[in-house]
Symmetry: C2
Subunit: 194 residues, 2 copies
Amino acid sequence: MRALAGKIDEVFEFVQKYIKENGYAPSVREICKGCEIKSTATVFTYLNELADRGLINKANLKNRAVSLKQNVTTVPLIGTVAAGQPIFATENYEDFYSLPSNFFSGEDLYMLNVHGDSMIKIGMYEGDKIVVKKQETADNGDIVVALVDDSATVKRFFKRDGKVVLHPENDEMDDFVFDNVKIVGKVIGLIRNL
Amino acid sequence: MRALAGKIDEVFEFVQKYIKENGYAPSVREICKGCEIKSTATVFTYLNELADRGLINKANLKNRAVSLKQNVTTVPLIGTVAAGQPIFATENYEDFYSLPSNFFSGEDLYMLNVHGDSMIKIGMYEGDKIVVKKQETADNGDIVVALVDDSATVKRFFKRDGKVVLHPENDEMDDFVFDNVKIVGKVIGLIRNL
DNA sequence: AAATTTAAGGAACAAATGTTTGCTTTTTTC
DNA sequence: GAAAAAAGCAAACATTTGTTCCTTAAATTT
């Protein structure tokens, strides 16, 4: 029997290609045909092994229940926040974007539109969208989203002399100093389209 | 019979949620349970209608062969280009990213790492990744990727007096003027993670 | 070269699942 | 309010499909 070492890899690639093309997984018998394997039992074994290796997900006793490891995370864009409403209310979800998870990882991400030019020195421009990780604390130097007067503002965060300093990255603007400020996230990325 | 107008929408949402959570589509009977519908025939009808409306894809006679309309495009990141090699050789593909297609649409996209600070005035920083649409021509003012000395460079494009001007967005740098330059793409977006 | 292990195949089984048909209930129309 | 249309249900049917068991062939070991 030809232990063509790459046979199982061929199955893996076939599954990937099939799912990409069709949006759903191939059946065991379709894999047989696609990879010229004679027995469904063989493919069945391969699929379980691929699942063991962590290359695919597979549910038992369900048809076509094979899926690839997710490489996207779906993230809501939070639009204009209605006054007095909690910022994360689903009513504020303006749209959803599927971001590459090999780029933006972690739980509880959201996106915001950039308004104004207060962070222009680090390349955040009006119309850009920023990717934010939901958290209520921050370290010195982090770019954070803070809630000031019921609206979300993006600044660099410092804690100094017991006060919170929100520092715009714009030489023409001054620091904002507060006794206390509600942090709602840390900026971890930026997306722009031209 | 309660023609709860939203019933079919409920099915649609259930399918979306199920696929997102499991990576594969629900069976007709699972939809029955999830949406409290008594008959598989009802769900069957709904699914066909959703497919007719173009909201889902559905294959006949195949199990769990329902899929959502794609909202991501897979884009290769082109890494360091080997000398003398065509830039788009698959050997240069360093990684793949799934970008949201409601953001970056079109055929033949690729990504590049940003090197240097020649475009710093428009917020392109070292380490950023740019999204590029493959094309060999450009309009005045476009940000383009051009091939100079076998390596890809990003500049603003102008055609002036029959010459091609590649303009860095950096006050400390001068324009590059060429008789002819090979354009390999137009920059349509940017992604950064901090 | 025989014995053992490993990989693949064949065939049948049982479960899961899409689909059809006819009936019932609700809604709409006249 | 009766008739017609639409929507939903129930049950059965027919595939599709995952899974198992056992056999066969190849590779490896002894």
